[in-house]
Amino acid sequence: MSKKLFIVGGLLVALLLAGVVSSFASGSPDGLDYAAREGCTVNAEGEITGGTCMAQQEGEHQLGDSPLADYGIKGINNEYLSTGLSGILGVLVTFGIGGGLFWLLRRRSSTPAP
């Protein structure tokens, strides 16, 4: 398999995971969020209603109103579509920024790249 094909194939796998599989991921709080709420009582929305726990002073995200906040796209009501498209966008943006940055940082070889 050529390297180019490998990169394209890997990207397709990432797009499939972020675009489709992500909708079936667990919605439970992750390990840290769980630990941070231990000792508090929370309501159905996950808001703290009482008790003592690490997350008591937790604040809103400064960018919580951004169009992609919480892995969705503002204005798209279909959850699968919203999550999937935001995931696809995230993979492409990460590849673009990461790949671009690493390409600029790389050692230039004496022979120009084909």
Binding site: D30, Q57, F95, G98
Partner: protein, 225 residues
């Protein structure tokens, strides 16, 4: 394991932004010697792949989930310095675009997941590849074990930060116990994903696996030129 705003005090969060920037600057300097025309696109792919897999929360206990952090995977595929930068890129994109992980907590999150977790994974991978067979199976076992340790050590980074600047008075021992317990389980999940991924790459294009090229023992020196 993204820390939200307000869990760790402002001054400690600010101090960790300085630590994170310093750590990433070291990584950039060291990464320059590793990055060539072959590694650069691979590193972009690893970052994109980690972003994708971080969306896939898996259940570890009733009401508790976890996701891969990616340090071990990155160390094996692109090396420790570039690997830490891959994880940091993901965390910054998540924070700025997806409101995941507080903006003021970005230094804490980069320190835990990109620096501490990746460093622990690197030490384990380098040590294990000296004793385990240098084949697909050995690489998979390395990824599995290093993932568990990397995730638990990263979670202890949070406990350290909480001891310095936690905003609620709580028992540190209890926090450390809960964090270690759930993160062993999350680490097992990460280990399975990381092992599957690196074994697949090692079968398809072993020359693209950094750990097989660079973490060499004397007996395997002749494998690649």
């Amino acid at each position: 394991m993204h820390i939200a705003n307000g869990i760790i005090s402002g001054p400690v969060s600010a101090a960790f932004i300085v630590i994170a920037v310093a750590g990433l600057a070291v990584c950039v300097t060291k990464a320059k010697t590793d990055l060539d025309d072959r590694l650069a696109p691979m590193a972009g792919l690893v970052a994109a792949f980690i972003f994708a897999v971080q969306m896939l929360n898996f259940q570890v206990l009733p009401g508790v989930s976890g996701h891969l952090l990616g340090g071990t995977l990155a160390v094996i595929l692109v090396g420790p310095w570039v690997g830490a930068l891959c994880v940091a890129t993901v965390l910054i994109v998540q924070c700025l675009l997806f409101a995941d992980g507080g903006l003021t907590a970005i230094g804490l999150n980069v320190t835990n997941m990109a620096l501490i977790g990746t460093a622990a994974a690197y030490l384990l991978v380098a040590a294990l590849l000296r004793i385990l067979p240098r084949n697909v199976g050995g690489l998979g076992a390395t990824a599995f074990i290093a993932s568990i340790v990397g995730v638990v050590v990263a979670s202890m980074g949070f406990v350290l930060e909480y001891s310095l600047g936690g905003t609620t008075e709580l028992s540190l021992g209890a926090i450390a116990g809960t964090m270690a317990g759930v993160h062993v389980l999350i680490g097992i999940g990460e280990g399975l994903i990381a092992a599957t991924t690196v074994m697949t790459v090692a079968r398809v294009r072993p020359d693209l696996v950094y750990a097989l090229r660079h973490f060499r023992t004397a007996s395997t020196q002749a494998v690649t030129a």
